[in-house]
Protein backbone atom coordinates (compact mmCIF):
# COMPACT_ATOMS: atom_id res chain seq x y z
CA UNK A 1 0.00 0.00 0.00
CA UNK A 2 2.80 2.41 0.79
CA UNK A 3 4.19 2.65 -2.78
CA UNK A 4 0.72 3.41 -4.11
CA UNK A 5 0.17 6.13 -1.55
CA UNK A 6 3.57 7.58 -2.24
CA UNK A 7 2.87 7.66 -5.97
CA UNK A 8 -0.48 9.31 -5.32
CA UNK A 9 1.11 11.89 -3.08
CA UNK A 10 3.87 12.68 -5.54
CA UNK A 11 1.38 13.08 -8.37
CA UNK A 12 -0.80 15.39 -6.30
CA UNK A 13 2.20 17.34 -5.10
CA UNK A 14 3.54 17.73 -8.64
CA UNK A 15 0.21 18.94 -9.93
CA UNK A 16 -0.35 21.22 -6.98
CA UNK A 17 3.10 22.74 -7.25
CA UNK A 18 2.86 23.20 -10.98
CA UNK A 19 -0.56 24.78 -10.67
CA UNK A 20 0.48 26.93 -7.79
CA UNK A 21 3.86 28.06 -8.95
CA UNK A 22 3.32 28.35 -12.68
CA UNK A 23 -0.32 28.38 -13.71
CA UNK A 24 -1.82 30.57 -11.06
CA UNK A 25 -1.59 34.26 -11.89
CA UNK A 26 0.35 36.52 -9.58
CA UNK A 27 -1.70 38.28 -6.97
CA UNK A 28 -2.27 41.89 -7.98
CA UNK A 29 -1.40 43.17 -4.51
CA UNK A 30 1.16 40.75 -3.23
CA UNK A 31 2.81 39.75 -6.47
CA UNK A 32 4.45 36.35 -6.51
CA UNK A 33 5.01 36.21 -2.77
CA UNK A 34 1.47 34.93 -2.28
CA UNK A 35 2.64 31.62 -3.71
CA UNK A 36 3.79 30.74 -0.24
CA UNK A 37 0.12 30.16 0.42
CA UNK A 38 0.42 26.73 -1.18
CA UNK A 39 2.51 25.42 1.65
CA UNK A 40 1.45 27.75 4.41
CA UNK A 41 -2.30 27.26 4.38
CA UNK A 42 -2.35 23.48 3.89
CA UNK A 43 0.22 23.17 6.66
CA UNK A 44 -1.92 25.28 8.97
CA UNK A 45 -4.99 23.22 8.12
CA UNK A 46 -3.11 20.02 8.72
CA UNK A 47 -1.79 21.23 12.06
CA UNK A 48 -5.35 21.55 13.35
CA UNK A 49 -6.69 18.50 11.58
CA UNK A 50 -3.96 16.31 13.05
CA UNK A 51 -4.61 17.63 16.54
CA UNK A 52 -8.25 16.65 16.13
CA UNK A 53 -7.21 13.23 14.86
CA UNK A 54 -4.91 12.82 17.81
CA UNK A 55 -7.62 13.66 20.29
CA UNK A 56 -10.29 11.54 18.62
CA UNK A 57 -8.13 8.45 18.30
CA UNK A 58 -6.85 9.08 21.81
CA UNK A 59 -10.42 9.11 23.08
CA UNK A 60 -11.16 5.89 21.20
CA UNK A 61 -8.12 4.28 22.74
CA UNK A 62 -9.09 5.55 26.15
CA UNK A 63 -12.68 4.33 26.05
CA UNK A 64 -12.41 1.04 24.21
CA UNK A 65 -8.82 0.18 25.08
CA UNK A 66 -7.85 -0.23 21.45
CA UNK A 67 -4.09 -0.35 21.17
CA UNK A 68 -4.02 0.73 17.55
CA UNK A 69 -5.94 3.91 18.32
CA UNK A 70 -3.45 4.76 21.04
CA UNK A 71 -0.60 4.28 18.60
CA UNK A 72 -2.26 6.39 15.91
CA UNK A 73 -2.84 9.07 18.49
CA UNK A 74 0.70 9.32 19.70
CA UNK A 75 2.31 8.89 16.28
CA UNK A 76 0.28 11.82 14.99
CA UNK A 77 1.85 14.21 17.46
CA UNK A 78 5.30 14.70 15.88
CA UNK A 79 3.81 14.96 12.41
CA UNK A 80 1.34 17.55 13.59
CA UNK A 81 4.06 19.44 15.38
CA UNK A 82 6.19 19.53 12.24
CA UNK A 83 3.27 20.90 10.23
CA UNK A 84 2.67 23.52 12.89
CA UNK A 85 6.30 24.51 12.77
CA UNK A 86 6.13 24.63 8.99
CA UNK A 87 3.07 26.87 9.09
CA UNK A 88 4.86 29.20 11.49
CA UNK A 89 8.05 29.39 9.43
CA UNK A 90 6.27 29.95 6.15
CA UNK A 91 3.94 32.43 7.79
CA UNK A 92 6.93 34.35 8.99
CA UNK A 93 8.61 34.16 5.56
CA UNK A 94 5.42 35.50 4.07
CA UNK A 95 5.14 38.21 6.65
CA UNK A 96 8.58 39.67 6.05
CA UNK A 97 7.93 40.97 2.50
CA UNK A 98 4.29 41.80 3.27
CA UNK A 99 4.54 43.54 6.63
CA UNK A 100 8.24 44.22 6.75
CA UNK A 101 8.82 42.19 9.93
CA UNK A 102 9.39 38.54 10.56
CA UNK A 103 6.76 38.29 13.20
CA UNK A 104 3.44 39.99 13.70
CA UNK A 105 1.24 39.26 16.67
CA UNK A 106 -1.57 38.38 14.38
CA UNK A 107 -4.39 36.19 15.67
CA UNK A 108 -3.74 33.23 13.43
CA UNK A 109 0.00 33.17 13.88
CA UNK A 110 -0.39 33.47 17.64
CA UNK A 111 -2.95 30.67 17.77
CA UNK A 112 -0.64 28.57 15.69
CA UNK A 113 2.21 29.28 18.10
CA UNK A 114 0.10 28.19 21.05
CA UNK A 115 -0.87 25.08 19.13
CA UNK A 116 2.81 24.32 18.76
CA UNK A 117 3.19 24.60 22.53
CA UNK A 118 0.31 22.18 22.98
CA UNK A 119 2.01 19.72 20.66
CA UNK A 120 5.28 20.10 22.52
CA UNK A 121 3.47 19.37 25.77
CA UNK A 122 1.97 16.20 24.33
CA UNK A 123 5.30 14.97 23.02
CA UNK A 124 7.10 15.90 26.23
CA UNK A 125 4.56 14.09 28.38
CA UNK A 126 4.71 10.97 26.23
CA UNK A 127 8.47 10.83 26.42
CA UNK A 128 8.53 11.45 30.16
CA UNK A 129 6.35 8.48 31.12
CA UNK A 130 8.17 5.21 30.96
CA UNK A 131 5.31 2.75 30.69
CA UNK A 132 4.12 3.36 27.14
CA UNK A 133 0.55 2.23 27.71
CA UNK A 134 0.11 4.62 30.59
CA UNK A 135 1.89 7.27 28.56
CA UNK A 136 -0.44 7.03 25.62
CA UNK A 137 -3.49 7.10 27.87
CA UNK A 138 -2.18 10.16 29.70
CA UNK A 139 -1.47 11.84 26.40
CA UNK A 140 -5.01 11.09 25.26
CA UNK A 141 -6.40 12.90 28.30
CA UNK A 142 -4.14 15.85 27.63
CA UNK A 143 -5.10 15.96 23.96
CA UNK A 144 -8.79 15.92 24.87
CA UNK A 145 -8.32 18.74 27.34
CA UNK A 146 -6.46 20.60 24.60
CA UNK A 147 -9.25 20.05 22.10
CA UNK A 148 -11.82 21.49 24.47
CA UNK A 149 -9.51 24.44 25.01
CA UNK A 150 -8.53 25.19 21.44
CA UNK A 151 -11.77 26.96 20.50
CA UNK A 152 -11.57 29.01 23.69
CA UNK A 153 -7.95 29.85 23.05
CA UNK A 154 -8.67 30.68 19.44
CA UNK A 155 -11.60 32.88 20.32
CA UNK A 156 -9.69 34.69 23.04
CA UNK A 157 -6.68 35.28 20.80
CA UNK A 158 -8.91 36.61 18.06
CA UNK A 159 -10.56 38.96 20.50
CA UNK A 160 -7.22 39.98 21.89
CA UNK A 161 -5.71 40.83 18.52
CA UNK A 162 -8.74 42.87 17.50
CA UNK A 163 -8.35 44.78 20.74
CA UNK A 164 -4.67 45.52 20.46
CA UNK A 165 -4.14 45.88 16.78
CA UNK A 166 -7.10 47.50 15.22
CA UNK A 167 -8.06 46.61 11.67
CA UNK A 168 -4.74 47.51 10.06
CA UNK A 169 -3.51 44.12 8.92
CA UNK A 170 -6.03 42.07 7.03
CA UNK A 171 -3.79 39.76 5.20
CA UNK A 172 -6.17 36.90 4.62
CA UNK A 173 -9.13 39.05 3.74
CA UNK A 174 -9.54 38.16 0.14
CA UNK A 175 -13.22 37.90 -0.53
CA UNK A 176 -12.85 36.35 -3.97
CA UNK A 177 -9.99 33.99 -4.57
CA UNK A 178 -9.36 33.26 -8.19
CA UNK A 179 -10.34 29.76 -9.21
CA UNK A 180 -6.89 29.14 -10.71
CA UNK A 181 -5.45 29.95 -7.33
CA UNK A 182 -7.93 27.86 -5.41
CA UNK A 183 -7.64 24.55 -7.21
CA UNK A 184 -3.90 24.09 -6.64
CA UNK A 185 -4.48 25.04 -3.03
CA UNK A 186 -7.04 22.27 -2.55
CA UNK A 187 -4.84 19.79 -4.40
CA UNK A 188 -1.95 20.68 -2.14
CA UNK A 189 -4.18 20.19 0.89
CA UNK A 190 -5.11 16.70 -0.28
CA UNK A 191 -1.47 15.93 -1.02
CA UNK A 192 -0.57 16.95 2.53
CA UNK A 193 -3.28 14.65 3.90
CA UNK A 194 -1.88 11.73 1.95
CA UNK A 195 1.54 12.63 3.23
CA UNK A 196 0.15 12.51 6.75
CA UNK A 197 -1.22 9.04 6.18
CA UNK A 198 2.13 7.82 4.85
CA UNK A 199 4.14 9.30 7.68
CA UNK A 200 1.59 8.01 10.18
CA UNK A 201 1.80 4.47 8.80
CA UNK A 202 5.60 4.51 8.95
CA UNK A 203 5.66 5.79 12.50
CA UNK A 204 2.91 3.47 13.68
CA UNK A 205 4.77 0.49 12.32
CA UNK A 206 7.84 1.43 14.32
CA UNK A 207 5.84 2.04 17.46
CA UNK A 208 4.07 -1.27 17.07
CA UNK A 209 7.33 -3.14 16.61
CA UNK A 210 8.74 -1.40 19.64
CA UNK A 211 5.79 -2.38 21.82
CA UNK A 212 5.31 -5.92 20.61
CA UNK A 213 8.89 -7.08 21.07
CA UNK A 214 8.79 -10.75 21.77
CA UNK A 215 5.43 -11.18 20.06
CA UNK A 216 5.00 -14.19 17.82
CA UNK A 217 4.19 -12.40 14.59
CA UNK A 218 7.37 -10.39 14.79
CA UNK A 219 9.36 -13.58 14.77
CA UNK A 220 7.48 -14.67 11.69
CA UNK A 221 8.36 -11.46 9.89
CA UNK A 222 12.00 -11.85 10.81
CA UNK A 223 11.89 -15.43 9.59
CA UNK A 224 10.89 -14.24 6.15
CA UNK A 225 13.73 -11.79 5.84
Amino acid sequence: MLPWLTALMLALLAYGLYGGLVLAPADYQQGDSFRIIYVHVPAAWMSMFIYMMMAVSGAIGLIWHIKLAEIVSICSAPIGASFTLLALITGSLWGKPMWGTWWVWDARLTSELILLFLYLGVIGLYNAIEDKRTASRSVAILALVGVVNIPIIHYSVEWWSSLHQGPTVTKFAKPSIHIDMLIPLLVMAVAFKVYYVIALLLRSRNELVQREQGGRWLDDILEEK
Binding site: A26, D32, V39, A43, S82, P97, A199, L202, R205, Q213
Partner: protein, 52 residues
Protein backbone atom coordinates in the same frame (compact mmCIF):
# COMPACT_ATOMS: atom_id res chain seq x y z
CA UNK B 1 12.66 30.40 -16.77
CA UNK B 2 14.82 32.85 -14.89
CA UNK B 3 11.73 34.98 -14.47
CA UNK B 4 10.03 31.99 -12.88
CA UNK B 5 12.93 31.53 -10.50
CA UNK B 6 12.98 35.21 -9.77
CA UNK B 7 9.38 35.15 -8.48
CA UNK B 8 8.81 38.82 -9.09
CA UNK B 9 11.47 39.81 -6.61
CA UNK B 10 10.30 37.51 -3.85
CA UNK B 11 12.55 34.61 -4.78
CA UNK B 12 14.25 34.36 -1.43
CA UNK B 13 11.02 34.12 0.57
CA UNK B 14 9.17 31.83 -1.79
CA UNK B 15 11.99 29.38 -2.40
CA UNK B 16 13.04 29.28 1.23
CA UNK B 17 9.47 28.44 2.16
CA UNK B 18 9.28 25.62 -0.31
CA UNK B 19 12.75 24.44 0.57
CA UNK B 20 11.97 24.25 4.25
CA UNK B 21 8.65 22.58 3.58
CA UNK B 22 10.36 19.99 1.43
CA UNK B 23 13.09 19.42 4.01
CA UNK B 24 10.68 19.00 6.90
CA UNK B 25 8.44 16.64 5.00
CA UNK B 26 11.33 14.58 3.73
CA UNK B 27 12.71 14.32 7.23
CA UNK B 28 9.31 13.14 8.44
CA UNK B 29 9.54 10.20 6.04
CA UNK B 30 13.19 9.33 6.28
CA UNK B 31 13.46 9.33 10.03
CA UNK B 32 10.87 6.59 10.62
CA UNK B 33 12.38 4.56 7.78
CA UNK B 34 15.84 4.70 9.35
CA UNK B 35 14.37 3.90 12.72
CA UNK B 36 12.63 0.88 11.25
CA UNK B 37 15.89 -0.44 9.81
CA UNK B 38 17.57 0.04 13.14
CA UNK B 39 14.77 -1.84 14.91
CA UNK B 40 14.93 -4.79 12.56
CA UNK B 41 18.70 -4.97 12.99
CA UNK B 42 18.42 -4.98 16.73
CA UNK B 43 15.69 -7.58 16.74
CA UNK B 44 17.75 -9.81 14.53
CA UNK B 45 20.76 -9.40 16.79
CA UNK B 46 18.55 -10.26 19.74
CA UNK B 47 17.39 -13.41 18.01
CA UNK B 48 20.96 -14.43 17.28
CA UNK B 49 21.80 -14.01 20.93
CA UNK B 50 18.74 -16.09 21.78
CA UNK B 51 19.65 -18.88 19.38
CA UNK B 52 23.21 -19.29 20.61
Amino acid sequence: MSEFLHMGGYAFYVWTSYGIAFAIMLFGIIKPLMQHKQQLRQLQLKRKRGLK
